[in-house]
Amino acid sequence: MSLVDASLAAGYTLGDFLLVAAAGFAVLAVGMLYRAVVGPTMQDRVLAVNVLGTNTVVILAILGAALGEPTFLDIALVYALLNFLMAIAISKFTVERGGVL
């Protein structure tokens, strides 16, 4: 009997609530996509994708908790690492378009 199965209200469990919260984070990510597409500068896009990536890490972690599969946290960790790599790589690339890489 894990905490995820604890009933919250009206027959819904905590797991249900966490899935809905993950969906909320995904909706926020969709909103952030506006900045990633519109820009206007490349740095804006990188920034939006970085924030998106943080959101995705939270989504992955919440999914791991809600589905009762703690090993999913590994994926979230990998993603946090590569999100950071992506941010510093692209942001350094945007300076003189790769001239200082």
């Binding site: 905490l3 995820v4 604890a6 919250l8 905590l14 609530f17 966490l18 919260a21 909320g24 984070f25 926020l28 909103g31 952030m32 506006y34 900045r35 500068t41 740095q43 804006d44 990188v46 920034l47 939006a48 970085n50 924030v51 943080t54 959101n55 890490v57 939270v58 972690a61 919440i62 791991g64 908790a65 809600a66 703690p70 090993t71 946290l73 590994d74 979230a76 960790l77 946090a80 690492l81 999100n83 950071f84 941010a87 510093i88 942001s91 350094k92 945007t94 300076v95 003189e96 200082v100």
Partner: protein, 111 residues
């Protein structure tokens, strides 16, 4: 029995509260990224509000899965996010400055 049940209820509502706080701060950061005028102020939002939102969300996950074993991973994740997210924002703002993007000042009609 009742004490354990009370503890579980407290943990459940703590998870709910932390998740909602995380959603709120992520929402704030989304609004900031969408509405603030230039890349520097957006980076400010990204490094602060979003880190806090992710922190609350991951704290909720840590309480849900319990602090032994898998919960340790979410604490590690929390630490990792807290270190890397502001650094990424710094890298982006630095790149923007090196590229010569002018900061927004009052009267500028950029959005």
């Amino acid at each position: 029995m009742t004490a354990a049940a009370a503890t579980e209820t407290a943990r459940v509502w703590l998870v709910v509260a932390l998740t909602l706080l995380g959603l709120f701060f992520s929402f704030v950061s989304m609004v900031g990224v969408l509405r603030l005028p230039d890349v520097y102020s957006r980076a400010h939002t990204a490094s602060q509000a979003d880190t806090l939102g992710a922190g609350f969300g991951l704290a909720a996950v840590a309480i849900t899965v319990g602090l032994a074993g898998a919960g340790f991973k979410s604490v590690l994740l929390l630490f990792f996010i807290f270190v890397t997210n502001p650094t990424a924002a710094h890298a982006i703002a630095r790149a923007a400055f090196e590229e010569g993007i002018v900061p927004w000042i009052e009267g500028d009609d950029r959005r």
